[in-house]
Amino acid sequence: MTNLNLKFLSESRTQDSLSKDDNSNGAAIQIEQLYKYYGDVKVLEDLDLDIQAGEFVAIVGRSGCGKSTLLRLIAQLEKPSYGEIKYQSARHFREGITNADIRVMFQDPRLLPWKSVLKNTQLGLAKEKYKFTEQLLEKVGLKDKAEHWPTQLSGGQRQRVALARALSHAPRILLLDEPLGALDALTRLEMQNLIEQLWNEQGFTAILVTHDVSEAVQLADRIILLDQGHIKQSFNVDLARPRVKNIAFTRLEQQVLEAVLAT
């Protein structure tokens, strides 16, 4: 057993290069020469991307630039036509990353309407982890709605349930596919804060696909601009958290927005 571990250790890269900070629960993602075709339509082409464990990456771009497809590939909902996506745990480097470590929050909540809020968050979870979901519901502020049906909740509340459901599996990677797109501005701000707070606490790697540049600047460590299946540009967001909309924020937002518009 120890021999095996040592072998893994020597093969894996050193922790520092993988992880944003040493305490990260997250997994690193390396994407190499990724291609995705739908029939003759080329969606992603020769894409390389390294994401550190615990990093918060936002992917922006116009509609049809391939950002959702990239997310779905990382989520293993679809297979690449060519190329590879590697996942690597930072702290638990001995363990491989499986599908169970990756969770997706979709554009719409995709809650099961025939299950109560609490039961929804327990979907696919082992019984001994059920306690955990109640805590998560409390964290997203819906403890008193645990026994409600999803149809009785507002759009924002439903997305919060979806967030609790995703996090109940203690994922190493959380993929967010424009989850706040359909929410009103105020609810959206609250959700952004909630996502940031939980990301801080739980240390997963987060990848957010969004068309909202301001949201990307608000949340991400790094913003990737995708254009016709290529990475056009990458922006580091060196702003202190929690972020306030000061001059630096606005300047970066403007810069990213112009780059998006130029594609």
Partner: protein, 263 residues
């Protein structure tokens, strides 16, 4: 305040009684027409005569005997035909191979009215219980089959994708997502079948039977006992309504998550 409560109470009683107003009026007219001799009792006996015939049949135990036999046939036929319909509907809805193999055949058979099979059924099974059960079973098979099939096919593929990405096994996927998703449709088929079961039974019991409501009415016809014929007809109406109420209660319980069933 109290007057308002009282008026609201009377209003509620009024709206509850309103649907019965017309039937009651009809019975009153009927009674008046019969007693005045306008309506011959051979054509249509007075309501009081029908009630007294009902009462005599009830205390002699004859009525209960016939109802028991008919209800037993309805239930068993429903169980066999509905069970098979559900099973095949679920199978064909879930498996493309099964549906390609079987659906065309079933759709073809569906267009044969169950009652057109009567001569063949009599040749096959003679005139005993099996023939009646067969007719009922064939008749109720299709509504349940078609609705189960359609229900499974129309389960939101996004929910299924979510379930898969949340690591549900095939069985869990079926139990947690596909089956509950198809339930509203399955229940529509069930309710439709419940209505159909009585129609089929009436015909099946009038061809050849030694017991059952159909037999009772046919027998009464031989002796020109129009009052008993009417009791039989009204019994079918009553049992049909009872079955429908049961289906409604079932629906309200199983679909309590549905927005349409919440108060």
């Amino acid at each position: 305040m109290t007057t308002q409560n009282v008026s609201r109470g009377t209003q509620r009683i009024f709206t509850n009684l309103l649907p019965w107003l017309f039937p009651i009026l009809l019975i009153v007219i009927w009674q008046v027409a019969s007693s005045s001799g306008l309506l011959q009792s051979r054509v249509l006996p007075a309501p009081t005569a029908v009630v007294s015939a009902f009462w005599h049949l009830l205390i002699s135990g004859e009525l209960w005997q016939h109802v028991k036999v008919s209800a037993g046939r309805a239930l068993l036929g429903l169980l066999i035909g509905g069970g098979l319909g559900l099973l095949l509907g679920l199978l064909n809805g879930s498996s493309r191979i099964a549906s390609t193999l079987l659906d065309t055949t079933l759709q073809m058979i569906r267009n044969i009215p169950a009652l057109a099979l009567i001569p063949l059924v009599i040749l096959w099974f003679g005139i005993d219980e099996t023939a009646k059960l067969f007719l009922v079973a064939v008749g109720v098979f299709f509504p349940i089959y078609i609705n189960a099939y359609h229900g499974i096919r129309s389960v939101d593929p996004q929910l299924i994708e979510m379930g898969k990405s949340y690591g549900l096994s095939r069985w869990q996927l079926y139990k947690e997502i596909i089956l509950p998703g198809a339930m509203p449709s399955i229940l529509v088929g069930f309710r439709f079948s419940l209505g159909l079961v009585w129609v089929l039974l009436i015909v099946a019991e009038t061809i050849s039977a030694q017991s059952g409501i159909g037999y009772m009415t046919m027998n009464a016809r031989e002796f020109l006992q129009t009052d008993i014929v009417l009791v039989g007809i009204l019994l079918y109406a009553l049992l049909g309504k009872l079955a429908d109420v049961f289906a409604q209660i079932l629906e309200r319980y199983l679909l309590r998550w549905h927005a349409g069933y919440q108060k």
